[in-house]
Amino acid sequence: MSHDHDHDDHHHHHDNHFSPMEARVRALETILTQKGLIDPKAIDAIVETYETKIGPRNGARVVAKAWAEPDFADWLKHDATAAIASLGYTGRQGEHMRAVFNDAETHNLVVCTLCSCYPWSVLGLPPVWYKAPAYRSRAVIDPRGVLAEFGVTLPEGRKIRVWDSTAELRYLVVPERPAGTDGLDQEALADLVTRDAMIGTGLALEPEAEA
């Protein structure tokens, strides 16, 4: 039935898809830019003032729970989609999630693209740099260099795994739990988890640094 198989592949999910609203916003942006009424850079600058303030709190709560509850961590490792959904955070398009855990051997870094593959429901808005072509290509070729630009220096010998999200599978990096956080409750732990830490371009904050 190879013919049918090909047929299925052909009709499989498209890599990219715009909702009617996304397409309309793109169209307005194109028209307004052509007419000289807006400058895409000015739009990015306005968006950027908000993106960092809309903390990715959902994802941070997932990470904090995984740090505090080994059973949950285990569930997250084996079925991130269900574990995350149990907290009420589900993607609009029902995409699958996979949690990748940083440990003493491996640091995980997620790259995406200029398309729509980013887990909004968990991470909030994507940073503007995340959509830049340079980030994606350089993250694959020289992840250590990219991390250095974000101020992240990993211990010698630590491997870096780069994950490329797809339309159907998105990644959440679970950073290592910082030392000296034994007495913190999950809410305080969640405050240590930055968006960048969940993309892999940062580490979880130290308790002192957060205060």
Binding site: N16, E22, I31, L37, I46, V47, Y50
Partner: protein, 118 residues
């Protein structure tokens, strides 16, 4: 940037505890930012914007929980641009279709460009 005026006068805009607008997806933030910018450029007054937005938000059949708030926002922006003679609905609609086709035609990992629509 007259953000306070924007916030105060946009009926029903979801805001965080700190009073910042809350966006569920990037296109919502982009639509918000374009509207702020157009207002700054004098394309429309905030009173004109608020009136059109309010009309969309209160249209029968809208979600009671405000889930489609930014759908209303984009529809309002579209119709205001058409009313102000910036771009007709036909022009906007044709270009939206082209962008949708461009997205479908673009493989994962490549930038979605309008030319990809063919």
């Amino acid at each position: 940037m007259s953000r306070c005026e924007t916030l105060a006068d946009s009926p029903g805009l979801p805001v965080s505890a700190e009073g910042e607008p809350v966006f569920a997806e990037p296109w919502q933030a982009q639509a918000f930012a374009m509207t702020v910018r157009l207002h700054e450029q004098g394309v429309f007054t905030w009173a004109q914007w608020a009136e059109v937005l309010s009309r969309e938000v209160h249209r029968p059949g809208r979600a009671v929980d405000g889930a489609d708030y930014f759908d209303c926002w984009v529809t309002a922006l579209s119709s205001l641009l058409s009313e102000r003679g910036v771009a007709s609905e036909a022009e906007q609609s044709a270009l939206s279709d082209r962008w949708a086709r461009a997205a479908e035609a673009t493989p994962h990992g490549m930038p979605i460009l309008l030319d990809n629509a063919g």
